[in-house]
Protein backbone atom coordinates (compact mmCIF):
# COMPACT_ATOMS: atom_id res chain seq x y z
CA UNK A 1 0.00 0.00 0.00
CA UNK A 2 2.61 2.57 1.06
CA UNK A 3 4.79 1.34 -1.77
CA UNK A 4 2.01 2.00 -4.18
CA UNK A 5 1.36 5.51 -2.83
CA UNK A 6 5.09 6.23 -2.91
CA UNK A 7 5.33 5.14 -6.52
CA UNK A 8 2.33 7.23 -7.56
CA UNK A 9 3.73 10.28 -5.79
CA UNK A 10 7.13 9.90 -7.42
CA UNK A 11 5.57 9.47 -10.86
CA UNK A 12 3.51 12.62 -10.37
CA UNK A 13 6.56 14.52 -9.16
CA UNK A 14 8.59 13.40 -12.16
CA UNK A 15 5.84 14.39 -14.61
CA UNK A 16 5.44 17.75 -12.85
CA UNK A 17 9.19 18.37 -13.10
CA UNK A 18 9.19 17.59 -16.82
CA UNK A 19 6.18 19.83 -17.43
CA UNK A 20 7.73 22.67 -15.45
CA UNK A 21 10.92 22.38 -17.48
CA UNK A 22 8.89 22.53 -20.68
CA UNK A 23 7.05 25.68 -19.60
CA UNK A 24 10.25 27.29 -18.28
CA UNK A 25 12.06 26.69 -21.56
CA UNK A 26 9.21 28.17 -23.58
CA UNK A 27 9.04 31.15 -21.21
CA UNK A 28 12.76 31.83 -21.62
CA UNK A 29 12.49 31.54 -25.38
CA UNK A 30 9.52 33.89 -25.72
CA UNK A 31 10.22 36.39 -22.92
CA UNK A 32 12.02 38.99 -25.02
CA UNK A 33 9.51 38.91 -27.86
CA UNK A 34 6.54 39.15 -25.51
CA UNK A 35 8.06 42.18 -23.74
CA UNK A 36 8.68 43.86 -27.10
CA UNK A 37 5.09 43.14 -28.20
CA UNK A 38 3.68 44.55 -24.99
CA UNK A 39 5.74 47.70 -25.38
CA UNK A 40 4.58 48.08 -29.00
CA UNK A 41 0.96 47.61 -27.96
CA UNK A 42 1.38 50.20 -25.19
CA UNK A 43 2.87 52.70 -27.62
CA UNK A 44 0.07 52.01 -30.10
CA UNK A 45 -2.53 52.79 -27.44
CA UNK A 46 -0.95 56.06 -26.34
CA UNK A 47 -2.37 58.44 -28.94
CA UNK A 48 -5.98 57.16 -28.73
CA UNK A 49 -5.84 57.88 -24.98
CA UNK A 50 -4.93 61.53 -25.65
CA UNK A 51 -8.17 62.64 -27.30
CA UNK A 52 -8.28 66.36 -27.93
CA UNK A 53 -4.75 67.08 -26.74
CA UNK A 54 -2.47 69.07 -29.01
CA UNK A 55 1.12 67.94 -28.66
CA UNK A 56 4.42 68.10 -30.44
CA UNK A 57 6.88 65.39 -31.33
CA UNK A 58 6.51 61.76 -30.38
CA UNK A 59 4.54 60.73 -27.29
CA UNK A 60 7.13 58.10 -26.47
CA UNK A 61 10.01 60.58 -26.21
CA UNK A 62 9.65 61.44 -22.57
CA UNK A 63 9.20 58.15 -20.79
CA UNK A 64 9.51 57.97 -17.02
CA UNK A 65 9.55 54.76 -15.03
CA UNK A 66 8.37 55.03 -11.45
CA UNK A 67 9.81 51.96 -9.75
CA UNK A 68 8.16 50.11 -6.88
CA UNK A 69 7.51 50.90 -4.07
CA UNK A 70 5.27 53.78 -5.06
CA UNK A 71 1.92 55.19 -3.98
CA UNK A 72 0.29 54.32 -7.30
CA UNK A 73 -1.99 51.31 -7.66
CA UNK A 74 -0.51 47.90 -8.36
CA UNK A 75 2.71 46.17 -7.54
CA UNK A 76 4.45 46.78 -10.87
CA UNK A 77 6.64 49.62 -12.00
CA UNK A 78 4.51 52.39 -13.44
CA UNK A 79 5.40 53.86 -16.82
CA UNK A 80 4.57 57.53 -17.37
CA UNK A 81 4.77 59.31 -20.71
CA UNK A 82 5.00 63.08 -20.39
CA UNK A 83 3.51 65.04 -23.27
CA UNK A 84 4.69 68.53 -24.18
CA UNK A 85 3.68 71.33 -26.53
CA UNK A 86 5.96 74.33 -27.04
CA UNK A 87 8.15 73.04 -24.20
CA UNK A 88 5.22 73.27 -21.81
CA UNK A 89 3.80 70.14 -20.17
CA UNK A 90 0.29 69.48 -21.48
CA UNK A 91 -0.61 65.93 -20.50
CA UNK A 92 0.61 62.67 -19.04
CA UNK A 93 -0.15 59.02 -19.73
CA UNK A 94 0.07 56.44 -16.94
CA UNK A 95 0.39 52.73 -17.55
CA UNK A 96 -0.69 51.34 -14.19
CA UNK A 97 -1.94 48.01 -12.90
CA UNK A 98 -5.22 47.57 -11.06
CA UNK A 99 -4.30 44.71 -8.73
CA UNK A 100 -7.82 43.61 -7.79
CA UNK A 101 -9.55 42.55 -11.00
CA UNK A 102 -11.90 39.55 -10.93
CA UNK A 103 -9.35 37.30 -12.62
CA UNK A 104 -6.03 38.90 -11.78
CA UNK A 105 -4.46 42.26 -12.42
CA UNK A 106 -5.76 44.61 -15.12
CA UNK A 107 -3.27 46.80 -16.99
CA UNK A 108 -4.71 50.24 -17.63
CA UNK A 109 -3.51 53.19 -19.65
CA UNK A 110 -4.85 56.48 -18.31
CA UNK A 111 -4.36 59.76 -20.13
CA UNK A 112 -4.94 63.07 -18.37
CA UNK A 113 -4.21 66.70 -19.18
CA UNK A 114 -1.85 68.76 -17.04
CA UNK A 115 -4.89 69.94 -15.07
CA UNK A 116 -6.01 66.40 -14.40
CA UNK A 117 -8.86 66.08 -16.91
CA UNK A 118 -9.14 62.53 -18.26
CA UNK A 119 -8.39 62.36 -21.98
CA UNK A 120 -8.88 58.65 -22.42
CA UNK A 121 -8.56 55.24 -20.84
CA UNK A 122 -7.58 52.01 -22.52
CA UNK A 123 -7.33 48.53 -21.10
CA UNK A 124 -3.96 47.09 -22.09
CA UNK A 125 -4.26 43.62 -20.61
CA UNK A 126 -6.86 41.72 -18.64
CA UNK A 127 -8.25 38.26 -18.00
CA UNK A 128 -11.80 39.19 -17.12
CA UNK A 129 -14.82 37.06 -17.99
CA UNK A 130 -15.80 37.17 -21.68
CA UNK A 131 -19.16 38.86 -22.18
CA UNK A 132 -19.25 40.33 -18.66
CA UNK A 133 -16.04 41.84 -17.32
CA UNK A 134 -14.39 42.20 -20.72
CA UNK A 135 -16.79 45.03 -21.57
CA UNK A 136 -14.19 47.34 -20.02
CA UNK A 137 -12.25 46.96 -23.30
CA UNK A 138 -12.94 49.78 -25.75
CA UNK A 139 -13.64 47.40 -28.63
CA UNK A 140 -16.32 45.52 -26.67
CA UNK A 141 -18.39 48.39 -25.25
CA UNK A 142 -18.43 52.13 -24.69
CA UNK A 143 -17.95 51.78 -20.95
CA UNK A 144 -14.43 53.25 -20.79
CA UNK A 145 -15.44 56.35 -22.73
CA UNK A 146 -17.72 57.67 -19.99
CA UNK A 147 -14.70 58.95 -18.07
CA UNK A 148 -13.42 61.24 -20.81
CA UNK A 149 -13.58 64.88 -19.75
CA UNK A 150 -13.97 64.13 -16.05
CA UNK A 151 -11.50 65.12 -13.36
CA UNK A 152 -11.18 64.91 -9.60
CA UNK A 153 -13.37 68.06 -9.24
CA UNK A 154 -15.95 66.73 -11.65
CA UNK A 155 -17.45 64.78 -10.01
CA UNK A 156 -16.27 65.22 -6.43
CA UNK A 157 -13.97 62.54 -5.08
CA UNK A 158 -16.88 60.56 -3.57
CA UNK A 159 -18.46 60.43 -7.02
CA UNK A 160 -15.51 58.42 -8.39
CA UNK A 161 -17.24 55.11 -7.87
CA UNK A 162 -19.90 52.96 -9.50
CA UNK A 163 -23.50 54.10 -9.16
CA UNK A 164 -24.29 51.08 -7.02
CA UNK A 165 -21.48 52.15 -4.66
CA UNK A 166 -22.93 55.67 -4.42
CA UNK A 167 -20.82 57.13 -7.18
CA UNK A 168 -21.44 58.70 -10.57
CA UNK A 169 -20.30 56.12 -13.07
CA UNK A 170 -22.18 53.36 -14.85
CA UNK A 171 -21.62 49.78 -13.80
CA UNK A 172 -21.53 46.77 -16.08
CA UNK A 173 -24.34 44.25 -15.87
CA UNK A 174 -23.09 41.01 -14.40
CA UNK A 175 -19.72 42.37 -13.35
CA UNK A 176 -19.04 44.59 -10.38
CA UNK A 177 -15.53 43.65 -9.29
CA UNK A 178 -13.98 44.44 -12.67
CA UNK A 179 -15.27 48.03 -13.15
CA UNK A 180 -14.71 48.75 -9.47
CA UNK A 181 -11.05 47.73 -9.81
CA UNK A 182 -10.65 50.00 -12.85
CA UNK A 183 -12.31 53.01 -11.20
CA UNK A 184 -10.29 52.60 -8.01
CA UNK A 185 -7.05 52.46 -9.95
CA UNK A 186 -8.05 55.55 -11.94
CA UNK A 187 -8.94 57.52 -8.85
CA UNK A 188 -5.69 56.60 -7.12
CA UNK A 189 -3.69 57.50 -10.21
CA UNK A 190 -5.40 60.89 -10.59
CA UNK A 191 -4.81 61.62 -6.90
CA UNK A 192 -1.15 60.73 -7.28
CA UNK A 193 -0.89 62.89 -10.39
CA UNK A 194 -2.46 65.87 -8.59
CA UNK A 195 -0.07 65.51 -5.66
CA UNK A 196 3.14 64.85 -7.63
CA UNK A 197 2.52 66.75 -10.86
CA UNK A 198 5.53 69.06 -10.83
CA UNK A 199 7.79 66.28 -9.68
CA UNK A 200 6.61 64.07 -12.57
CA UNK A 201 7.19 66.72 -15.22
CA UNK A 202 10.54 67.94 -13.87
CA UNK A 203 12.27 64.56 -13.65
CA UNK A 204 14.65 63.53 -16.40
CA UNK A 205 13.46 60.75 -18.66
CA UNK A 206 14.68 57.40 -17.40
CA UNK A 207 12.89 55.09 -19.80
CA UNK A 208 15.23 52.67 -21.49
CA UNK A 209 14.23 53.75 -24.99
CA UNK A 210 17.30 54.48 -27.02
Amino acid sequence: MTDHVMKSGLTLAAIAAICTALVATTYQGTKARIAANEQAWLEQSLEPALAGVFFEGSVTESKLVIPTPHELPGRDDVIVYRVFAEAQPVAALFAVTAPDGYAGPIRILLGATYDGVVTGIRILEHRETPGLGDKIVSSRSNWVFQFDGHSLDNPELTGWALKRDGGQFDQLTGASITPRAVINAMRETLLYFAAHRDEIFSQAANGDDE
Binding site: C19, L22, T26, R127
Partner: protein, 227 residues
Protein backbone atom coordinates in the same frame (compact mmCIF):
# COMPACT_ATOMS: atom_id res chain seq x y z
CA UNK B 1 -11.45 1.54 -30.27
CA UNK B 2 -9.29 -0.06 -32.91
CA UNK B 3 -5.92 1.26 -33.99
CA UNK B 4 -6.65 1.52 -37.70
CA UNK B 5 -4.41 3.08 -40.31
CA UNK B 6 -3.26 6.69 -40.25
CA UNK B 7 -5.75 7.68 -42.95
CA UNK B 8 -8.60 5.91 -41.14
CA UNK B 9 -7.81 7.82 -37.93
CA UNK B 10 -7.80 11.09 -39.84
CA UNK B 11 -11.16 10.29 -41.40
CA UNK B 12 -12.61 9.39 -38.02
CA UNK B 13 -11.55 12.72 -36.55
CA UNK B 14 -12.56 14.76 -39.55
CA UNK B 15 -15.95 13.20 -40.16
CA UNK B 16 -17.23 10.06 -38.43
CA UNK B 17 -16.29 11.10 -34.88
CA UNK B 18 -15.75 14.84 -35.34
CA UNK B 19 -15.28 16.29 -31.81
CA UNK B 20 -17.55 19.25 -32.47
CA UNK B 21 -20.16 17.79 -34.83
CA UNK B 22 -20.62 14.31 -33.39
CA UNK B 23 -19.19 14.27 -29.88
CA UNK B 24 -20.34 17.87 -29.27
CA UNK B 25 -17.26 18.51 -27.15
CA UNK B 26 -15.49 21.84 -26.60
CA UNK B 27 -18.59 23.81 -27.47
CA UNK B 28 -17.81 26.76 -25.20
CA UNK B 29 -14.82 28.02 -27.22
CA UNK B 30 -16.47 26.83 -30.43
CA UNK B 31 -19.48 29.04 -29.88
CA UNK B 32 -17.62 31.95 -28.30
CA UNK B 33 -14.75 32.70 -30.65
CA UNK B 34 -16.19 31.85 -34.05
CA UNK B 35 -17.28 35.40 -34.86
CA UNK B 36 -14.73 35.59 -37.67
CA UNK B 37 -12.79 33.15 -39.83
CA UNK B 38 -9.40 34.22 -38.46
CA UNK B 39 -10.49 33.82 -34.83
CA UNK B 40 -11.75 30.32 -35.57
CA UNK B 41 -8.54 29.43 -37.39
CA UNK B 42 -6.37 30.79 -34.55
CA UNK B 43 -8.16 28.85 -31.86
CA UNK B 44 -8.34 25.80 -34.10
CA UNK B 45 -4.58 25.76 -34.65
CA UNK B 46 -3.93 26.23 -30.94
CA UNK B 47 -6.30 23.37 -30.10
CA UNK B 48 -4.80 21.16 -32.80
CA UNK B 49 -1.33 21.73 -31.38
CA UNK B 50 -2.36 21.00 -27.79
CA UNK B 51 -4.45 17.96 -28.76
CA UNK B 52 -1.70 16.38 -30.86
CA UNK B 53 1.07 16.88 -28.31
CA UNK B 54 -1.07 15.83 -25.38
CA UNK B 55 -2.02 12.66 -27.25
CA UNK B 56 1.65 11.93 -28.00
CA UNK B 57 2.77 12.55 -24.41
CA UNK B 58 -0.10 10.63 -22.82
CA UNK B 59 0.48 7.71 -25.17
CA UNK B 60 4.26 7.74 -24.68
CA UNK B 61 3.97 7.70 -20.89
CA UNK B 62 1.01 5.32 -20.67
CA UNK B 63 3.07 2.35 -19.44
CA UNK B 64 4.48 4.23 -16.45
CA UNK B 65 1.35 6.01 -15.28
CA UNK B 66 -0.62 4.12 -12.64
CA UNK B 67 -4.32 4.02 -13.29
CA UNK B 68 -5.36 6.07 -10.24
CA UNK B 69 -3.15 9.09 -10.97
CA UNK B 70 -3.83 9.28 -14.70
CA UNK B 71 -6.27 12.22 -14.51
CA UNK B 72 -3.87 14.54 -12.59
CA UNK B 73 -1.17 13.56 -15.07
CA UNK B 74 -3.41 14.48 -18.03
CA UNK B 75 -4.23 17.79 -16.37
CA UNK B 76 -0.54 18.54 -15.82
CA UNK B 77 0.40 17.69 -19.39
CA UNK B 78 -2.49 19.61 -20.96
CA UNK B 79 -2.05 22.67 -18.73
CA UNK B 80 1.68 22.85 -19.50
CA UNK B 81 1.08 22.56 -23.24
CA UNK B 82 -1.59 25.26 -23.11
CA UNK B 83 0.74 27.58 -21.18
CA UNK B 84 3.40 27.02 -23.84
CA UNK B 85 1.02 27.74 -26.70
CA UNK B 86 -0.25 30.83 -24.91
CA UNK B 87 3.32 32.15 -24.61
CA UNK B 88 3.98 31.32 -28.25
CA UNK B 89 0.83 33.19 -29.35
CA UNK B 90 1.78 36.18 -27.19
CA UNK B 91 5.22 36.22 -28.80
CA UNK B 92 4.35 35.65 -32.45
CA UNK B 93 0.66 36.49 -32.89
CA UNK B 94 0.03 39.26 -30.32
CA UNK B 95 -3.07 40.73 -31.94
CA UNK B 96 -4.64 37.31 -32.41
CA UNK B 97 -3.86 36.61 -28.76
CA UNK B 98 -5.66 39.81 -27.75
CA UNK B 99 -8.58 38.94 -29.98
CA UNK B 100 -8.97 35.42 -28.57
CA UNK B 101 -8.20 36.64 -25.06
CA UNK B 102 -9.04 34.21 -22.31
CA UNK B 103 -10.03 31.44 -24.74
CA UNK B 104 -6.41 30.46 -25.33
CA UNK B 105 -5.78 29.64 -21.65
CA UNK B 106 -9.27 28.12 -21.51
CA UNK B 107 -8.17 25.40 -23.96
CA UNK B 108 -7.18 23.62 -20.74
CA UNK B 109 -10.86 23.09 -20.05
CA UNK B 110 -11.71 21.88 -23.57
CA UNK B 111 -13.07 18.46 -22.71
CA UNK B 112 -12.29 17.20 -26.22
CA UNK B 113 -8.61 17.11 -25.25
CA UNK B 114 -8.90 15.21 -21.98
CA UNK B 115 -11.49 12.95 -23.63
CA UNK B 116 -9.03 11.93 -26.36
CA UNK B 117 -6.32 11.38 -23.74
CA UNK B 118 -8.55 9.08 -21.72
CA UNK B 119 -10.46 7.32 -24.50
CA UNK B 120 -7.73 6.97 -27.11
CA UNK B 121 -4.17 7.99 -26.28
CA UNK B 122 -3.95 6.08 -22.99
CA UNK B 123 -4.79 2.82 -24.82
CA UNK B 124 -3.05 3.12 -28.17
CA UNK B 125 0.42 3.43 -29.67
CA UNK B 126 2.18 6.77 -30.04
CA UNK B 127 1.79 6.71 -33.81
CA UNK B 128 -1.95 6.16 -33.87
CA UNK B 129 -2.42 8.62 -30.99
CA UNK B 130 -0.55 11.18 -33.07
CA UNK B 131 -2.85 10.45 -36.01
CA UNK B 132 -5.88 10.68 -33.74
CA UNK B 133 -4.71 14.06 -32.41
CA UNK B 134 -4.14 15.40 -35.91
CA UNK B 135 -7.48 14.07 -37.16
CA UNK B 136 -9.50 15.31 -34.20
CA UNK B 137 -7.64 18.64 -34.19
CA UNK B 138 -8.21 19.24 -37.89
CA UNK B 139 -11.83 18.13 -37.53
CA UNK B 140 -12.34 20.68 -34.76
CA UNK B 141 -10.48 23.40 -36.72
CA UNK B 142 -12.50 22.81 -39.89
CA UNK B 143 -15.72 23.18 -37.90
CA UNK B 144 -14.42 26.36 -36.20
CA UNK B 145 -13.41 28.02 -39.47
CA UNK B 146 -16.61 26.96 -41.24
CA UNK B 147 -18.80 28.47 -38.54
CA UNK B 148 -16.49 31.50 -38.33
CA UNK B 149 -16.68 31.99 -42.08
CA UNK B 150 -20.47 31.81 -42.17
CA UNK B 151 -20.98 34.06 -39.14
CA UNK B 152 -18.53 36.64 -40.48
CA UNK B 153 -20.13 36.60 -43.92
CA UNK B 154 -23.69 36.90 -42.64
CA UNK B 155 -22.97 39.09 -39.63
CA UNK B 156 -20.40 41.53 -41.01
CA UNK B 157 -20.67 41.04 -44.76
CA UNK B 158 -16.96 40.34 -45.12
CA UNK B 159 -14.73 37.41 -46.04
CA UNK B 160 -11.39 36.69 -44.35
CA UNK B 161 -11.13 40.02 -42.55
CA UNK B 162 -8.18 40.74 -40.25
CA UNK B 163 -6.00 37.94 -41.63
CA UNK B 164 -3.07 40.18 -40.65
CA UNK B 165 -3.51 38.87 -37.09
CA UNK B 166 -2.22 35.53 -38.33
CA UNK B 167 0.13 36.45 -41.17
CA UNK B 168 1.41 39.79 -39.88
CA UNK B 169 1.69 43.14 -41.64
CA UNK B 170 -0.82 45.98 -41.80
CA UNK B 171 -4.46 45.63 -40.85
CA UNK B 172 -6.37 43.86 -43.63
CA UNK B 173 -10.10 44.33 -44.02
CA UNK B 174 -10.44 41.25 -46.21
CA UNK B 175 -13.05 41.13 -48.94
CA UNK B 176 -15.88 43.42 -47.88
CA UNK B 177 -19.08 42.53 -49.74
CA UNK B 178 -21.50 44.77 -47.88
CA UNK B 179 -20.93 47.14 -44.99
CA UNK B 180 -22.56 45.62 -41.95
CA UNK B 181 -24.78 42.58 -41.92
CA UNK B 182 -27.32 40.63 -39.97
CA UNK B 183 -26.10 41.30 -36.44
CA UNK B 184 -27.77 38.19 -35.01
CA UNK B 185 -25.16 36.02 -36.72
CA UNK B 186 -22.27 37.44 -34.70
CA UNK B 187 -24.26 37.39 -31.46
CA UNK B 188 -24.37 34.14 -29.42
CA UNK B 189 -27.67 32.86 -30.95
CA UNK B 190 -26.02 32.97 -34.38
CA UNK B 191 -23.38 30.56 -33.10
CA UNK B 192 -26.04 28.06 -32.03
CA UNK B 193 -27.91 28.38 -35.33
CA UNK B 194 -24.72 27.79 -37.32
CA UNK B 195 -23.74 24.79 -35.22
CA UNK B 196 -27.23 23.33 -35.53
CA UNK B 197 -27.14 23.76 -39.30
CA UNK B 198 -23.71 22.12 -39.46
CA UNK B 199 -24.84 19.12 -37.38
CA UNK B 200 -28.01 18.80 -39.48
CA UNK B 201 -26.02 18.98 -42.72
CA UNK B 202 -23.70 16.22 -41.55
CA UNK B 203 -26.60 13.98 -40.59
CA UNK B 204 -28.29 14.59 -43.93
CA UNK B 205 -25.13 13.67 -45.84
CA UNK B 206 -24.58 10.55 -43.72
CA UNK B 207 -28.17 9.46 -44.28
CA UNK B 208 -27.96 9.96 -48.01
CA UNK B 209 -24.76 7.88 -48.16
CA UNK B 210 -26.31 5.15 -46.11
CA UNK B 211 -29.35 5.03 -48.34
CA UNK B 212 -27.16 4.92 -51.45
CA UNK B 213 -25.15 2.01 -50.03
CA UNK B 214 -28.36 0.30 -49.01
CA UNK B 215 -29.76 0.53 -52.50
CA UNK B 216 -26.71 -1.26 -53.95
CA UNK B 217 -26.97 -4.17 -51.53
CA UNK B 218 -28.70 -7.43 -52.50
CA UNK B 219 -32.28 -7.44 -51.23
CA UNK B 220 -31.77 -10.17 -48.61
CA UNK B 221 -28.98 -8.21 -46.82
CA UNK B 222 -30.93 -4.98 -46.58
CA UNK B 223 -31.69 -3.50 -43.21
CA UNK B 224 -33.73 -0.49 -42.39
CA UNK B 225 -31.52 2.62 -42.58
CA UNK B 226 -33.20 3.72 -39.38
CA UNK B 227 -32.23 0.55 -37.53
Amino acid sequence: MSEGSFVERLQTGLWADNPGLVQLLGLCPLLAVTTTFVNGLGLGIATLFVLTFSNILVSATRRWIQHDIRIPVYVLIIASLVTCIELIFKAWFPSLDRSLGIFIPLIVTNCAIVARAEVFASRNSVMSSFADGIGMGIGFTVLLVTIGFVRELVGQGSILSRMDMLVGGDAMSGLVLVDGGWLLAVLPPGAFFCLALAVAAKSAIDRRRLLARHAKMPRRLRQSPHG
